[in-house]
Amino acid sequence: MTAAASKSRPILPSGWEMVVGLEVHCELRTQTKLFCSCKNIFGDEPNTNICPVCLGLPGSLPVLNSHAVELAMLVGFALHCEIRPSIFHRKNYFYPDMPKDYQITQYDEPINVNGYLELSDGTRVRIERAHLEEDTGKTIHVGELGASGRIHQAQWSCVDYNRAGVPLLEIVSMPDIRSALQARAYVSELRGILLATNSSDAKMEEGSLRVDANVSVRRVRDQDESSADGELGTRCEIKNLNSLRSLVRAIDYEATRQVALLESAQEVVSQTRHWIEDEGKTLSLRSKEEAFDYRYFPEPDLLPLAPGLDWQKEVVSDLPPMPQERRDALANLVKEALGDDASLKDQVALLVELGLDTLATEAISSGADPRIVINRLSNEAPADHQAACRLDPKNFTALVVMEKNEQLTPTQAKAVLVEMLKSEDEPLKIAQRLGFETLGDQDLSAVVLQVVAEHQVEWSRYVQGEQQIAQFLVGQVMKLTKGRADGAKVVRELNKLGASENIEK
C-alpha cells in the first residue's frame, strides 16, 4: 500500500483507531564509543575498533564519554525534556552481540524525561524519555535462506564488535500517534532535529537510526472524536523496520491484523513481531526468550551522572534553530514577497530538510526573486544537495538574477545550476562555456515573425482568441532557436503582434 493510497482512505474499518508509540534508537555522532576510547566509525574492517572495555575482558572498567552526554542533553533540550540526574544499569542477557553478556543502559533514572515533539499538523507527541545506552555488536547469520530471505535454520553466526559500545540515544514516545502517516511524520521530524543538532547521522539505511513501533488498536468511543485517554488495547512491538516505507506498511498491516482478530472474537497476544518486507507482513518469532527477564541492576563500575546547571547552560547555548522554526522563518520570508501560497509549503519543508534554507534565505535577502530561488533549490539542487549546501550564495544569487532578467531562460538556468554543483565557477562563465548567449530581442522578434509567416492557419486561430494554440507557436520558436528563447517572452511577443493585427483590422 502506498502512502498516497493510505492518505486517501482510512486503513481501519470505521469504529476502530490505532494507537502507536515509537522507540527510536539513534547512534550519536561522537569520535569514540560510550565507555571506551575506541573509534566510533561506520564501515571499518570488522573487529578493528575494539579494546578490553568493549570486549568485556576481565579487569576493564568503563568511563563515560563527556561528548555523548552533551549530545544526549542537546537532543533532550531540542525535545523539550527535563534533564535529570541519572544512573546506569546492567541489562543482563545471553546473546553473542554483547561480549559482556549485559548491555549498559539507563533504566529507571534516565537523563531526559517528559518532553514532546510537535508535528507539522500540530499534533504534540509526548516523549516519555530519551536515555543513553551502548549499541551492540553486529551479527551475521550464516545458514540456509528460506523463501523469504530470512534465515530459518542458522548454522552459525559471525560477530563484529566494532559497533559494540557505540553511544545510542533511545528516544521513547508516549502512545500519542494515531496513524502510520503520523508515525512517519514523527520519525522525519525527529530525524530533522537530530541532523539540525548534528548529534547523529540518522541514516536508517546504515542503521544509525532504528525504529521499533508499539501498535495496538481500540474501538473509538465517539464516532467523530478519537478517545484521547481511553484504555489501550494489547500491543505488539514491531521490529526490523529499515525504512520509512517499511514503517508505514508495517504499522498499517499490524493494526489491520489486530482489528481482524478482535472482530472475529479472538485476542491480540502481546508479543514482539518482525516486519518481513518482501512478504509485506509481520511475524511472531516465538522465541524461548520471549519471557524477558533482564535482571536490571545498577552498574557498579559507573558513577552517577548529574550535569550541573552551568554545563547544561553551555550545552543549550549550542542549540541551533529547529526545523519547525526554520520552516516558519523561510515561509514568512517567501510569504512577504509572494503572499499566501499553499503550493510553496512542501517546497519550503523540502529545503529545510535538505539544509538549503540558509542559502535560500541569503539569496532572497540579497534581492533574488523568491519564487525562482525556491524553484531552483527544490527542483534542481536535491540531485546533489550536499554540493548545493556548499554553493556560494553570491553565485547562486547571481544565477537567479540572470534568470529573472531574462539573460537566461529557465531551461538554461537549470543547466547552469547543474554545472554550478560540479564546479565553483560563476554562473556567467558557465553560461558562456555552455554557449548560452542571450537571444537578442530583435533576433527573437525576427524568429517570431518567421514562425507566424510559416504557420498562417494557426496564427489566425490564435489571433481570433484560441489561446491554446500559443503552445504550438512557442514550440516552433523553441525549435528554430534550439531552446534559447524564453517562453514567456515569446508569448509577450505573440500578444504584441496579435494586438497590432487586431488594431489594423
Partner: protein, 108 residues
C-alpha cells in the same frame, strides 16, 4: 522474589526461583543441586533481610558508595587492541569475525 510474602517465615527463595534463575544463567542443575542452592541462597537472602529492619524513611537512596559523580573522559580516540591478537584467542574465526554457535530461537 515471588514467594516473599507467602513464605516469610521460611526462606525467601523457592526452588522454582532457583530453577528460573539457573535457566537465565544457562546453568544446568540436578534436583539435588536445586535443593542445596535453594537452602544456601535462602540463608544468604535471609541474612540480607536483616538490613531491611533499619528505618530508611529519611535516607536518600544511593546507587554508589563513593561520594563522586560525573566522572567523564574527553571524546578522543585511542588505539585499541590488535585484531590478530584478539581473534587468536577465539575458538573459531571467519572473515575477521568471531564465529559463534547458531542462536537459539531464530534471528532477533
Amino acid at each position: 522474589m515471588a514467594n516473599n510474602e507467602a513464605n516469610h517465615n521460611k526462606h525467601i527463595i523457592s526452588s522454582d526461583d532457583v530453577v528460573h534463575v539457573a535457566a537465565l544463567a544457562r546453568l544446568e542443575l540436578s534436583e539435588d543441586e536445586v535443593e542445596l542452592f535453594t537452602s544456601q541462597l535462602g540463608v544468604v537472602l535471609d541474612y540480607a533481610t536483616v538490613i531491611s529492619a533499619v528505618d530508611t524513611t529519611d535516607v536518600t537512596p544511593c546507587s554508589h558508595p563513593l561520594p563522586l559523580q560525573n566522572v567523564l573522559r574527553a571524546d578522543e580516540p585511542k588505539p585499541g587492541l590488535n585484531r590478530q591478537d584478539v581473534l587468536a584467542q577465539a575458538p573459531l574465526v571467519e572473515d575477521g569475525r568471531f564465529r559463534v554457535p547458531p542462536i537459539l530461537g531464530g534471528v532477533p
